[in-house]
Subunit: 347 residues, 2 copies
């Protein structure tokens, strides 16, 4: 099938660029002696996870239980879920997964740990738990004192195994807190298997945090306009583009494309919703569900109705999650149509 | 099944509230003598479209061809697509649909009209085309002069039928332009079957635009935090809530819920990403893909890890489109699990 036969909007993945991204991040981790654990939330496609494993990754990270389910069904069996699994139903499901697969999970509170312990006890296993330390992302995670306390508690629980520490993102700023926790755990005689860091931008600072043993990175596989603006990828490294069409030119300054927030998501950066490769001077300044508003006043020439353009999205992980199928392309050919198998798996 | 057996996050639709919304909007249109054509992009579920038809709607609006496909398969056969269908492949598909169904489509340029005409000629039919007039939304659409010219062109084409005018949103501000086009078409001896307006907020101004003959409204069926803040619905009218869980309480001021942008979308209003019914003082100030950041500093008491909350989303149409299944509930019971059949249908 040729790309020109695809309808618009469609999500294209340049296979050569993706391969290059996979090889490059694996090499970065290999050079630093870090285990590499790609985060599959970016693509949600088992076939791509297998390419990452084949390139040298030790396993994968999944953000939710049902996302992990899909990859387990596809025979990926070393999975870290860097998320608090809360509630009896979910904890039991996790414990069932851990019966036949190598699973680890993070926790940042006693409530989470107690639920995991109970579910593990019911299955007569020990679940591997990493303690999440807070970072300047100010999201989930606990303090230095909290982390030490939780690690001790996990270590003392026969149905849990303390598997290490987890941070997101693992910027250099997290190092002092990480060092303090490691020191206190060493004094307490508690071994730390893994120090897991994450984030595509943070990966390029990993050499400044030698405490890390593992990296979880997702976006790098495709890259997007955000990684470009953050200086960790070039436009050439962006494997994902959205093939879209100009469907209206209501004024000389404005073009409307057929890729709206149901195609690109509403994620924006610096007031922009995507970068149009054919019209670098254009500004995609607003989205409705099926319309992209583009200011083309700085473009010469300006696009016509019916013209095809390619958009580098702001945030690749949320784009994949909107589509049932995305297309791997090389040159003018569609070489593979992937089912986004874990799309919509939010719990 | 009981609601408490559903995992979090799940999308719930209060069946009584939805029914009330359907009846209320139909009554508003009936009172004004307007044909009512619900926009199914909000729910993407044929079963709900059939409830809307049963309540008195004349047909439905679909935003894209493949969305319309799903509803045609479900035997809904009076469909308006208020969108420019561009390109030979899509125009042919539309012409095929029009062979066996009552289909109308909008257009705002000669390019679009020429493509439709060619496809209609190949099928030896006439496609019904409405001309889209620009509004202060400044999206697609043409000027007064452009609309008159396009209407004449459609009227003169044996394979097209001029079906009327279309605006979005149909606020009172559009009236002068609408009157001018109608006057000029009258002078040219061109009949206007339909003047189609749209928008949930605009519906409540429809009495100020007596030129309208039809309304396309989507969000009203569920309502959301935006329609509440716009003053066209109360919290009681919000049929959609997201059942979510507090998964982390990293600080005394912050709670993390398990509904992120892959559950709620990134659409925001006034810096907020959703309204938490149990904690009206809370502010959901940021989303990552699977995390909602909530400032609970004004809440007393404050939520605990493991607690269930219900979130009224900012924009219901983009929420439905993220989920494969949403749940119709009454009291404590899940009465129906709907497949979001047209989810992801973006072309």
């Amino acid at each position: 099938m040729r790309i020109e036969d695809l309808e618009t909007p469609s999500v294209l993945i340049d296979l050569d660029k993706m391969k290059h991204n996979i090889v490059r991040m694996q090499a970065l981790c290999d050079d630093l002696g870090l285990a590499f654990r790609p985060h599959v939330k970016t693509h949600k496609i088992p076939e791509i996870a297998k390419m990452q494993i084949e390139a040298g990754a030790v396993g994968i990270a999944c953000q939710k239980l049902t996302e992990a389910d899909v990859f387990i069904q596809a025979n990926l069996d070393d999975i870290l879920i860097p998320y608090n699994i809360v509630g009896q139903q979910k904890a039991r499901r996790l414990a069932d997964m851990a019966l036949f697969n190598r699973i680890a999970v993070s926790a940042d509170s006693v409530t989470v740990i107690e639920g995991l312990s109970e579910a593990a006890a019911a299955n007569e296993i020990a679940i591997r738990v990493l303690v999440e330390l807070i970072t300047d992302q100010n999201r989930a995670g606990t303090t230095v004192e909290g982390a030490v306390e939780l690690a001790k508690r996990i270590d003392a629980d026969e149905h849990l195994h303390f598997a290490g520490l987890l941070v997101y993102p693992s910027n250099a700023s997290v190092r002092p807190a990480l060092q303090e926790v490691l020191l206190q755990l060493d004094e307490a005689g508690i071994g730390v298997d893994v120090v897991s860091g994450g984030g595509t931008a943070a990966a390029f600072q990993a050499h400044e945090v030698p405490e890390l043993t593992e990296l979880r990175v997702g976006t790098y596989v495709f890259n997007d306009w955000t990684t470009v603006l953050n200086g960790v990828a070039s436009l050439e490294d962006c494997a994902m583009t959205i093939r879209a069409m100009v469907v209206s030119r209501p004024t000389s300054e404005r073009a409307i494309l057929d890729c709206g927030s149901k195609t690109l998501s509403s994620d924006s950066i610096d007031g922009g919703y995507g970068f149009i490769l054919e019209y670098p001077e254009a500004k995609m300044y607003r989205l409705n569900e099926e319309h992209a508003y583009v200011d083309v006043s700085n473009c010469d020439p300006r696009p016509k109705v019916g013209e095809i353009v390619h958009v580098v999205p702001v945030h690749t992980c949320v784009v994949t999650n909107l589509h049932n199928t995305i297309y791997g392309v090389r040159g003018e050919h569609v070489e593979v149509a992937w089912n986004v198998a874990a799309r919509g798996r939010v719990w």
